[in-house]
């Protein structure tokens, strides 16, 4: 693995260890996340998928007793470096959560939120960005006539797409998804999946999922975690169909879950 290869990666992670207080959760995880692609993170419940994902945008900084060791590089920036501005980092590494969490504000204000906190004041520009983000998130046609409506009145699937629009609005380079469909019905799930696939021409996407079919449908790369270790990482086909690891084969064949 040479340097130019590493440089092209959106994330380059070496020897990552993390945990909460006495409890260590991630052990020596090393992984490279390629740009403009979908990486699915799979593994049984409690194996550390969310913890891993939240290490990437330092979302765990706020969790008491959380610790992290090892190196997480985003492009050429050390994510846990001394001089990192976390707010700036999180803006470039977006995150969408398991349960849709729109703010109790209007649809418009939800999407404009990130723009405003980052200092955009020009109303015309904000309106334009809100429009573009809603279009990109495949929500515009459904909401264009009631942008002033409280976002909480949208359906779950619409709310999740709104959260994606809100994330897109601040122009991140990567979007992290933590089980984005597990609170949604099958139709909304398909919508979000299509949207994620569509987004990969512009972003690197990392999707934690419990749903192996989903990983199969959308992922270019798959990382399989088991008890805090990255057992395997590779192209989707390889992990699902040609894995040489017994654990991986058992998991993708549903022997345990």
């Amino acid at each position: 693995m040479n340097d130019t290869h590493t440089m092209n990666m959106v994330f380059s992670i070496r020897g990552l260890q993390a945990g909460y207080g006495q409890k260590s959760v991630l052990h020596d995880v090393s992984i490279d996340i390629p740009p403009r692609s979908i990486t699915a993170i799979i593994g049984p419940s409690g194996c550390g998928k969310s913890t891993f994902l939240r290490c990437l945008n330092r979302m765990n900084d706020l969790t008491p007793d959380f610790y992290v060791r090892g190196k997480v590089m985003h492009r050429d920036e050390d994510v846990y470096g001394q001089s990192v501005d976390v707010t700036h980092l999180r803006r470039r590494i977006g995150m969408v959560f398991q349960k849709p969490n729109p703010f109790p504000k209007s649809i418009f204000d939800n999407v404009a939120y990130g723009l405003r906190i980052h200092g955009m004041r020009d109303q015309k520009k904000i309106t334009e960005k809100v429009h573009d983000s809603l279009v990109k998130a495949a929500l515009w046609d459904e909401v264009k006539d009631h942008l002033a409506m409280p976002a909480l009145r949208l359906s779950g699937g619409q709310q999740q797409r709104l959260c994606i629009a809100r994330t897109i609005a601040v122009a991140p380079e990567v979007i992290l998804f933590d089980e984005p469909c597990s609170a949604l019905d099958p139709v909304s799930t398909r919508n979000i999946e299509n949207l994620i696939v569509h987004l990969k021409k512009d972003y690197a996407l990392i999707v934690v999922t419990h749903n192996l079919q989903q990983a199969h449908r959308i992922a270019d790369y798959v990382g399989f975690f088991h008890m805090g270790r990255l057992v395997e990482f590779g192209a989707m086909k390889q992990v699902f169909e040609e894995s040489t690891h017994q654990l991986t084969r058992d998991y993708v064949q549903g022997v345990f879950g």
Partner: protein, 300 residues
């Protein structure tokens, strides 16, 4: 046979308890109705002698003098100015301490600060009254030489300190009830902590903060001892906080403690002003409920 008796005894016991609980619940209703009925009849008798118009618009309040005037505005002004000063003190401080406690303070700091703050609420108001009169007024007089010994400013400030823990604690509850997922949503977009607090947590807790504020206002309007001790008992239609005034509540104290004959027009004034106080507080409650509904957001 025995088992049957035991079942029967238990049933009787349950029934007795049920009746007792019902009585307790209904007694509060009965008492409330009783109070309102007394208030109403005495108020109606008062207004048979004094016109509502004179009462509500008159600029002088001298029911205890020989030249009787029944304009309640000076008492309203007294209540408004002391309550206003109290809220100017209590709202920002209470809100800031709520934000500090819920968003910034570490658990250890919080566990020390919160009980201390709550002690403020446990201090008897008579102590606050003398605190205002003997300590705060003389201190303020050094800054403002024209300040009278009795005035609205000092008891207003002290009342604000008294109300602070209510506002702080209720607002803190409201802030803590804001779901963690909303905070994370904000942080994930690159918000700093204070941006998250002021653009997500505080607006989401708005209805709770509003009701804390309104509860504070009604406590201030109803507060009696502090103003009776430190504000003077001189009804005066003014918004100048530096001179002696009288509030609605302290007037009621003044009359009920004095030697006014109980079946007289003078005595009935306290029911009339009491009724207006009651209506005022009621309006604040309705306003609070309305605002809460209006701004309620549903998080599952």
């Amino acid at each position: 046979m025995l088992a049957k008796d035991a079942v029967y005894a238990r049933r009787v016991g349950e029934y007795a308890i049920e009746v007792l609980i019902k009585l307790a619940a209904f007694s509060s209703i009965v008492i409330t109705i009783g109070i309102i009925a007394v208030l109403m009849t005495e108020t109606i008798r008062f207004f048979q002698e004094v016109s509502v118009w004179e009462f509500l618009t008159g600029r002088e309040w001298t029911p205890l003098f020989s030249n009787k005037k029944f304009g309640v505005l000076p008492l309203f002004a007294g209540t408004a100015i002391t309550s206003g000063i109290a809220m100017i003190v209590a709202l920002p401080l209470g809100l800031m301490s709520a934000i500090y406690l819920s968003e910034y303070a570490r658990e250890r700091v919080r566990s020390i600060l919160k009980p201390i703050l709550e002690i403020l609420a446990a201090v008897p108001t008579v102590v606050y009254g003398y605190f205002a009169l003997q300590l705060v007024t003389p201190l303020l007089q050094r800054l403002i030489p024209s300040l009278s010994g009795f005035n609205a400013l000092s008891p207003g400030i002290v009342m604000g300190i008294m109300i602070l823990p209510i506002i702080s604690s209720l607002s803190e509850d409201a802030l803590r009830a804001v779901p963690h997922s909303l905070r994370e949503g904000s942080y994930a977009l690159g918000a700093s902590r204070w941006q998250m607090v002021f653009s997500v947590a505080v607006p989401a807790a708005f209805s709770g903060i509003t009701s804390a504020f309104l509860l504070g206002v009604s406590r201030a309007i109803g507060e009696t001892m502090i103003v009776a001790i430190a504000a003077g008992l001189q009804p005066r239609l003014t918004l100048n906080p530096l001179v002696p005034i009288e509030t609605v509540t302290s007037y009621i104290v003044q009359v009920s403690m004095g030697d006014t004959p109980t079946d007289s027009l003078e005595y009935r004034t306290i029911f009339a002003v009491g009724m207006t106080l009651f209506l005022g507080a009621f309006m604040f409650n309705v306003l609070g409920a309305w605002l809460q509904n209006r701004f309620r957001e549903i998080y599952e």
